[in-house]
Symmetry: C2
Subunit: 442 residues, 2 copies
Amino acid sequence: MPTRWYNLVPDLPMPPPPPLNPATLLPLVAEDLESIFPRSLIEQEMSLEKYIAIPKEVLEVYKLWRPTPLYRARRLEKLLDTPARIYYKYEGVSPVGSHKPNTAVPQAWYNAQAGVKKLTTETGAGQWGASLAFACKLFDMEASGVRASYDSKPYRRMLMELWGGTVHPSPSTVTQAGRDILAKDPNTPGSLGIAISEAVEVAASDPTAKYALGSVLSHVLLHQTVIGEEALQQLAMVGETPDLVIGCTGGGSNFGGLAFPLLREKMAGNMNPIIRAVEPEACPSLTRGVYAYDFGDTAGLTPLLKMHTLGAQFIPDPIHAGGLRYHGMSPLISHVKELGLIEAVAVPQVDCFKAALQFSQTEGIVPAPEPTHALAEAIKEALKCRETGEGKVILTALCGHGLLDLPAYDKFIHGALEDIPLPSAKLDAAFASLPSRSSTSL
Amino acid sequence: MPTRWYNLVPDLPMPPPPPLNPATLLPLVAEDLESIFPRSLIEQEMSLEKYIAIPKEVLEVYKLWRPTPLYRARRLEKLLDTPARIYYKYEGVSPVGSHKPNTAVPQAWYNAQAGVKKLTTETGAGQWGASLAFACKLFDMEASGVRASYDSKPYRRMLMELWGGTVHPSPSTVTQAGRDILAKDPNTPGSLGIAISEAVEVAASDPTAKYALGSVLSHVLLHQTVIGEEALQQLAMVGETPDLVIGCTGGGSNFGGLAFPLLREKMAGNMNPIIRAVEPEACPSLTRGVYAYDFGDTAGLTPLLKMHTLGAQFIPDPIHAGGLRYHGMSPLISHVKELGLIEAVAVPQVDCFKAALQFSQTEGIVPAPEPTHALAEAIKEALKCRETGEGKVILTALCGHGLLDLPAYDKFIHGALEDIPLPSAKLDAAFASLPSRSSTSL
């Protein structure tokens, strides 16, 4: 099991553009973040150290599910009749069923060390909210969240409450941001951007509380690098080098966690995999977004982040991959994409469920809707290998199981799932409200 | 990972009483079972070999979740402030989330080898039905089941369908047994005994189909001994010897799977643990049942089995531990209990959920309602150790996670769960219909 996290930033040919204070448009300083994050996590966010030691208290909890297994999908390969070798790193063995506790546990621990009593957060599918509730329970803190998919995923609400967390549907009436949005559109399906506004508002107004984010920021991706570090070790044990690394992207934490250690090896010339991010067609920040400074949330309470964004006002359709319904992409992943170090594609929801059914009927594991995006792409590549005869090594991240998402499968199996195209006009409208369109300094 | 299953029978001081043909009251012969089981599994059911090799095709599938982890519950120990050391063997890492695929996979494989095209079964909580659907899918067979808790566990129905299985609520209108029971009581909550009648009826009337049982029979317990074999190896790796082995019992497959290899070591004088079965107060076959010949199902279609039974007509209250709602106990476990080699206790449902909440808030994993019975007993023993200062080593089987049982936790957390006492009169009524009460030859 790795004992340190890997920070990609110092290895890059140039650093990512800094986050900006929205009031001054100057690069953010640590103090700007102190109302919402403890100093230790702010330092990690801005760190230029290549490796950061994992605290022993965190390692002790990691032991419950780490190292996670790396499987070869032999039965899936047989079904596809492909010479490709498909490996998947499975994070669903954590108590919550996804990779999210990899960062929830250290975030809760650092906050507890700083004397914080309560953490607020947003959650999409509920994986992150449940992870934070679990982590807070371990370190005697209170967890409070707002959920973007409250009604469609009732079991994850129950899971959060089981671990002592409290949850509100977002947009909620407990915040100004929520009330404003409900006043404009009482029937909004919500979004992660709205939920972030609400969670940040609560944390900033309560001196005993801080805010925790489940993806996007560099310290979150840092914590997730245990995935890629383990995968490298495990592939080495079976003498394999990946030709293709595929991960799904919403905010980017699962993808970054797998890809960054592999990118380090690629940049060092130790291997040369293609590294590809896969996002939903319903929320295509990397493939149809613009690379610009934007807010991380809908109400404009966060710093300005340079990222691939669909605009903070963009509300994605309520696809089942609730964890991928975010308007922006991690600034670090966006930067790496601009540097040409990774690729990106978008896939429609129905293709994802088709792939997921092939996967679960051969490999057994039922994937969460989010990683089905990576599976769809991996299967597409494996089928190409059948045509070309290439024995490519494909590595993908199965970042969680879908046992709490079975109603989505039920809909798919019974033919009740359809793709809704995303019209350019909807994107154009969202782009129009980008701060970079209204400020000449950006 | 073990490469053979352990058969307890040849190590016992005397063999268990044989199953009887209900028509002749003579000991069953292999031919009596051929309409519902393939010859290979009948041979295992009657085997006197101490070890049986696990087929390589089965081992290949086992690899997906075996070996399963053995954890020490350090955070729970800390919460309880106990000097006891609590170890739990966690079977929830299988694709289905429980120990059931340990036997579903070999049962499906042996049937496929015998040319069987379809397997029928019953399922309580749905863990077994989902496991068999998964296993059948792997070997290109059809799975068809009847469910005793169809309405209360919708996600497990979805899981079965995802793996291509078909499911009917039991009692159903597709069998004579089901129709007869519905005619008598249209509002019956069903039971495993009724569901077995229905599944056996379908298998016996379809020449391409056989029946598969998820517990009770000796070949099922045989397959589960991988649990105990692994636990022995894992405890040896940390230099521990258990003082107390605790497992929940419904039909007995999880308990037998853990306990039998430990019982072998105990009988060989290599260790001396107390081995204790824990059952629900709502369905207390070992603690309040009679040891007698009885049918395995409600309609009387199975052989007569000598076991601790509440009577095949007994309908347990619809507790959440659907997998423990069986009127009888595995004949092999019943025999071992009669020999004084194991103990048994019964616990009420609310105590189980209390224990489960303590467990999941410290260890993270949300236990299925079934193993919460063992956890409640393990916690009780650990608290006794706090009083006495004894550093006992407690080993328990956490045979599945409860992610699909979250509505039960939700009810408990919101105070909507109550214990319903089981009056002796209800038991007496069920005992009255035992075949041994009507036949002087039994």
